[in-house]
Symmetry: C2
Subunit: 188 residues, 2 copies
């Protein structure tokens, strides 16, 4: 199963593709940054981002697109652009018939580090370790997108957007993920 | 000049098309509601809305699309979906090469009623009067979309997204609009 992770943003949108090759096994396929310039009008920026997302979907033909869930409580100055880019990513995937899943930041952190409270540097370090990336990967939007893809690839049972709980063979990270997910669902 | 006004929303998105036939003269072309069901997943809802917006653009071939500006301070529960639909409308227009303008609710109210503080019922009443609509038009998302289109059609000089001020021949409504716009720009 090939997963495209999208960390949405209007100025910088991280994208990362991983291939799930077995239980708890993932391989890096590609990673990069989708950008638009703040000098352009919002409509032109959305076109730029949508065109680049289309290229990623065309080139890597993912089986599923995992998008970070946007919360209205987030930074007021940027949340609208972030929500709009998340919407474009979901639209582009759904129009191709590709299933879309969303994950909360807490779920993602728990999945890759075992703790829902990990900071961005810890997440980046674990993502590089999990995927065997030796060089630095910047900015964090890119490692966040890869973390999303890993998080989704590691969902117990490979379910898409279901609420299936991990079995007794769940790893500590999977258990932390499941707890974080349940907490997020309760909070919605 | 044909203007498509879009009052964005995920469950109900108002759309209205007017033709500017001369200074302060507008004629109704069409109005309606774009909808999606809360029973569907967000990705499918965005596809539904985008498909319907495409139909409106194809059928009426507007020269410009006017979208209500979304503010992060608005209702937290609905603002993300509203922002996403505004994004889809801007993307669909821009991909067709159609210019996009945004107007604040205050500008729109001032343009059609002469007061930036008018309520939705007053806006609806004035829109029906301006466009010679005798029957009731519901819900207010539809009259809000028509008000947006009228507001844009009546912009002094027909400028798109510029900040040109009305000349000395401006009507009270145009002056109120210009003041509301300047206030909105100061607040950004």
């Amino acid at each position: 199963m090939r997963v495209l992770g999208v960390d949405p943003g209007l100025t910088r949108c991280g994208v990362g593709v991983v291939e799930a090759t077995g239980p708890r096994r993932v391989a890096l396929v590609a990673h990069g940054l989708v950008t638009s310039s703040a000098d352009d009008g919002l409509d032109q920026r959305l076109v730029r981002v949508a065109d680049q997302l289309d290229e990623w979907l065309d080139r890597h033909a993912p089986d599923v697109v995992a998008v970070e869930q946007v919360f209205a409580q987030a930074n007021v100055r940027t949340v609208l652009g972030t929500a709009q880019v998340a919407g474009l990513a979901m639209l582009a995937a759904a129009r191709r018939g590709i299933p879309v899943a969303t994950h909360t930041p807490t779920e993602v952190k728990a999945a890759v580090t075992g703790s829902g409270r990990a900071d961005k540097a810890q997440v980046a370090r674990m993502v590089r370790k999990i995927l065997g990336i030796t060089e630095e990967v910047r900015p964090v939007d890119v490692t966040d997108a890869l973390a999303l893809a890993v998080c989704h690839a590691w969902r117990p049972g490979g379910a898409l957007a279901g609420a299936r709980r991990p079995g007794s063979s769940a790893t500590p990270a999977q258990q932390a993920w499941a707890e974080a997910e349940r907490a997020a669902r309760r909070g919605r």
